[in-house]
Point group: C2
DNA sequence: CGTTTTCTTGAACAGATTCAATGCGTGTGG
DNA sequence: CCACACGCATTGAATCTGTTCAAGAAAACG
């Protein structure tokens, strides 16, 4: 049996008392996933849903032609792989550990139980889905109206907000991320990302590194994201 | 009091009996919206949710810079404006009648009631949200990998499937739609849309018209959408 | 220490946008 | 009921942003 302190206070479980937490943990299975291990694969039958206790997870969608994009990153304290909440039989994307991760999993049958027993859990889950829908629509807007430069700036800001860690040099993104990853988040090529980051590095706005990005001047990046920078 | 036959058999209410339908209709308000009238506006406080009895509704998102996109079209028998289901206070987009429409509306407070009393209603609603999330993610994929040509072909296929009407000439889209609208669905400009439709018209794949598109050869359009056409 | 992965950078190219001008329908107001 | 204005559509030409192609350097890994 897992200890209730693991999940107490995390958004989906925030309003639940000790007994409720114990009930929830009763049928939970906890697993470790090494960096680059997959938690589930796209098209795979969805028989369980998950909660990220620690680490960062990359959610990747692959097109029939092999082209792939990063749908989002999951942070500690988020539910993911909740296909069951949307009445789906299979996962629409794959989930890959960006660093070593610890994950709680429940069989799908528990979903209806939790929702019936703990309305605040259900509400929080649906808020999560709602906000992902908003994010995704915001991304569509961004891709139809903004320049690549703005999209990359926006992606950096998002990453910094979700997984920023203060260092002497600025705010560093707390997990390994390649230029290719950023390209897959913004719908461009690694070449363009590399060029832009290099340019920004020359201006002192960011600092690059192998699988690493540090933002030194978030304000300037924000101006770029909003296309309000003097050229 | 509205008659239960209005909504009987529509997806969200499919599994409900007569009493349930009556209960649901008890607090419903039905309204007519003339073509181009707005049902609700982006950023407006969401105090009600809606169901489209007849007509077609355009869901439009506007960016701070004025740029706008069409998030989706709502068809007869769909719930829309269900911000309440995602725990949102305001609408993330505007809803505009594409043709004269009839809409049922309920105050938000009914949402929790319906969901508690009629689980199949709740499940169907969350499936709707889930499938919109899928659609939107599919659109992001499309915009990052496909050419404009493919995206427009895809948009036409979507429209034809959702609102196609057979005519002597082929399948016509059942509501007025401008080149600009198609541009806002595909993240391009009306110029590019116009050029492509003209080219396809020369090849006999489609037939244009003022605020009208008729698809004559869906198969060829599908080949274009999948980028498998001989050049 | 060689191999692989990640990153950088130049040059050529192309698809789509932007700018500009014009034509066509349709619905409104005189 | 007709004229005219406005919204919608078409099409050419110039331009540009970002991709593609190509080559190579630097860092990590076994």
């Amino acid at each position: 049996m897992l200890d209730r302190s693991l999940i107490a206070g995390m958004p989906p479980f925030q309003e639940l008392d000790g007994d409720a937490l114990d009930r929830i943990l009763r049928d939970a299975r906890s697993s470790r996933y090494a960096k680059n291990a997959s938690v589930f694969e796209q098209e795979e039958e969805a028989s369980a849903f998950h909660f990220l206790l620690s680490g960062h997870i990359r959610v990747v969608r692959t097109a029939p032609d092999g082209h792939q994009i990063i749908a989002r990153y999951i942070n500690e304290g988020e539910l993911f792989g909740i296909a069951v909440a949307m009445g789906r039989k299979t996962f629409p994307a794959s989930a890959v550990a960006a660093v070593d991760c610890v994950v709680l999993s429940w069989p799908n049958r528990e979903w209806a139980q939790f929702q019936a027993m703990f309305p605040s859990f259900g509400a929080s889950a649906y808020e999560t889905i709602g906000s992902r829908l908003q994010d995704t629509q915001a991304r569509v807007m961004e891709m139809s109206s903004s320049q690549v430069e703005q999209r990359i700036a926006n992606a950096l800001l998002k990453l910094v907000n979700q997984a920023g860690r203060k260092t002497a040099d600025g705010i560093e993104i707390d997990f390994p991320i390649t230029r290719q990853d950023i390209a897959e988040m913004t719908g461009t090529t690694l070449h363009t990302v590399s060029r832009l980051l290099s340019a920004w590095e020359d201006e002192g706005l960011v600092k690059g590194g192998r699988q690493k990005v540090t933002v030194r001047d978030p304000h300037q990046i924000m101006l770029i994201a909003e296309n309000r920078r003097r050229k």
